[in-house]
């Protein structure tokens, strides 16, 4: 999809992030072509979540520049939609499913203006897309993990952004939800949107994504899955800590 003159959906240059004296991301250069679906993989502590967060300036960068469609992130905030880890919020918060999804429209509304009928409709249609319409009035504490994840995805869909950053969207969800989320993400990329997702399950990488960024504090490799998702790069990132080797997957899958 990426043509020569088009700016990439996301361009990260020299990105470095540290918490205290611990370097979490080191000198990351990354280009995400428009319309691609990209997996971010790496061992625990590799900085995957930090990458997603620092792209949006949610954690301070020690160095580095992030541009979205060729312009600085700060000017392109509305082009980016963020799905945090499901476990990062308190699901006992007193609110309903539809109200949570409506939060996706808050950015467009700006300060002080209240969501109205239009925002309600938008939230309902996003819920329909993730197959959660019947739960619209349900209290969010009554949802299963998979349903929570769908609500978060619906909230992101309401934002009508062009770049989607998802932090472990498949963490602890049921198989049906996983399939549904993949289908929705595929629809997004088919429509020219760009998806970047932190991913854990190396077994499904080739099936779900066409692009990958392999991370371990530094960027180990990035590019097309069929070109860089190999045991050499995985060894570099995970050391001996993975039993998964892409070459073997046709004969016998690691679980």
């Amino acid at each position: 999809m990426s043509s020569g003159e088009q700016s990439p959906a996301v361009r990260v240059t020299d990105l470095t992030v540290a918490y205290g004296d611990k370097t979490v991301l080191w000198d990351i250069d990354l280009e995400i072509p428009i319309g691609s679906m990209v997996a971010v993989v790496g061992p625990n502590g590799a900085g995957k979540t930090t990458l997603i967060k620092s792209i949006q300036g949610l954690v301070p960068r020690v160095a580095g520049v992030v541009s979205i469609h060729g312009k600085p992130y700060e000017k392109q905030r509305k082009e980016v939609s963020y799905v945090p880890q499901r476990g990062s919020v308190d699901w006992d918060f007193p609110t309903s499913v539809v109200d949570t999804v409506k939060m996706g429209s808050y950015g467009d509304l700006g300060w002080i203006r209240r969501p109205g009928k239009k925002e309600h409709e938008k939230a309902l249609s996003a819920l329909e897309k993730v197959d959660m319409l019947e739960f619209a009035q349900r209290q969010i504490s009554q949802l299963s993990g998979g349903q929570q994840q769908r609500v978060f995805l619906a909230r992101a869909l309401v934002q009508s952004a062009s770049v989607y950053l998802l932090d472990e969207p498949f963490q602890g969800v049921d198989a049906t939800t996983e399939k549904a989320i993949v289908r929705i993400l595929k629809e997004l990329t088919d429509g020219g949107k760009t998806v970047l997702a932190v991913h854990h399950d190396l077994n499904t990488v080739s099936e779900y994504y066409e692009q990958i960024a392999i991370l371990n504090v530094g960027l180990v490799a990035s590019g097309r899955v069929d070109e860089v998702f190999n045991s050499e790069n995985l060894m570099k990132a995970y050391g001996g800590k993975t039993s998964f080797f892409p070459e073997r997957k046709s004969s016998r899958r690691a679980v």
């Binding site: 963020y82 007193p94 808050y106």
Partner: protein, 366 residues
């Protein structure tokens, strides 16, 4: 009811309502104990501002107090960010320090001023109405009702303007940040509002009991509703009810009013904690009992169903050995008989058509 009693209650109602509004957000943000920090730290601001203007009724005192509340929060967060001590410890370090400085200053330089440590800690709402607002000879009511009324109005304006911002940044801070709201700014605005509220409530209920009015009513409300808006509304209702009934309890027992109001808050919470329909202790126990009974019924029905179809049955239904006691077993049988799902003939249990239906729909359908 004497005019004086009316004034006290009016003041108590305004204070309670002002406290409950920001309180709902503090509780949801797990920052309840920050109230304690704020309400103690504001004393330092009041005293420093008093040294500056030498007038106890100056509005500068309120500003000084609110500023020191925000200062306390900033210091706690700074200590916390250094990651050398844990969060709760940083609260425990900062506010007693600020409070102690205030107490030292108070006992050294302000002995002749009417701020005594007793009323700082417990407040003296009964005296508050004596300080009247008198304009060209007309008595317009207690001064503190106006001060507190303005603070209540400010709180109402604050949450009605920033309701959506408060909601999203309380629920999901990083998401709120990603869509361009500034959760840190909202956080400090909320802290400023809490500080102001504490200052206002200071006179009435003192620095210890104000925490009861800020934290307890929202906690009661939280257990009773699923909507943020209703939670705030209910918090206000609980706060006002505690204020008024606390006043009459104090009147009846001839004891400290602020203490009685906080005591009633506690009693309210105990009641809600036990009796709330879904989340109360009794509700949860009832639900557990119901689940246990449902499961027992289902296992007996399935066992009968399998027996009927000639399948091997681990626990023979007639022996009822699947149940922990004979008492419980006969209770289960009795319930099922009442529902018409089993029948008893010659000491043996049989499924009725209704019982068979239940096995098919609820158990096998799973």
């Amino acid at each position: 009811m004497s005019p004086h009693q009316f004034d006290i209650q009016l003041l108590a109602i305004i204070v309670a309502a002002s406290c409950a509004i920001p309180g709902a957000f503090l509780v949801l943000r797990r920052m309840s104990m920050m109230t304690d920090a704020i309400s103690h730290s504001i004393l330092l601001g009041i005293i420093l501002a008093f040294f500056l203007v030498k007038d106890l009724s100056s509005p500068i005192l309120i500003i000084g107090a609110a500023a020191s509340g925000v200062l306390a929060i900033s210091l706690i967060e700074a200590v916390n960010r250094a990651r050398l001590v844990k969060k709760d410890a940083s609260i425990g370090i900062v506010f007693p320090f600020l409070f102690s400085v205030a107490v030292i200053l108070l006992s050294k330089y302000a002995r002749n001023v009417h701020i005594d440590t007793h009323s700082v800690l417990l407040g003296e709402i009964a005296f508050a109405p004596f300080n009247r607002l008198i304009l060209s000879g007309m008595d317009l009511g207690p001064k503190s009702a106006y001060v507190m009324g303005s603070i209540l109005l400010l709180n109402l304006l604050f949450i009605s303007f920033f309701y959506k911002e408060l909601k999203v940044s309380t629920f999901d801070e990083s998401f709120a940040s990603s869509i361009g709201f500034r959760p840190r700014l909202i956080h400090y605005l909320l802290m400023a509002v809490v500080s102001l509220t504490c200052v206002g409530a200071f006179d009435a209920v003192g620095s210890i009991l104000v925490i009861a009015l800020i934290v307890i009513p929202p906690c009661c409300a939280y257990l009773l509703t699923d909507s943020l808006f209703r939670m705030i509304l209910l918090s206000v209702v609980f706060g006002i009810s505690a204020a008024v009934s606390g006043f009459w309890v104090a009147n009846w027992l001839d004891v400290n009013i602020a203490g009685s109001m906080a005591f009633v808050c506690g009693v309210f919470f105990l009641m809600v904690f036990l009796l709330a329909p879904q989340r109360g202790l009794f509700g949860i126990m009832r639900e557990k009992r119901k689940q246990r009974m449902d499961f027992a019924e289902a296992s007996l029905l399935v066992s009968l169903y399998n027996q009927e179809r000639g399948e091997s049955v681990k626990n023979h239904p007639d022996s009822r050995s699947m149940f922990r006691s004979a008492d419980f077993a006969s209770k289960v049988v009795e319930f099922l008989k009442q529902k018409g799902e089993i029948a008893v003939a010659g000491g043996k249990l049989f499924l009725t058509e209704k019982g068979r239906e239940r096995v098919r729909t609820t158990v096998e359908g799973r």
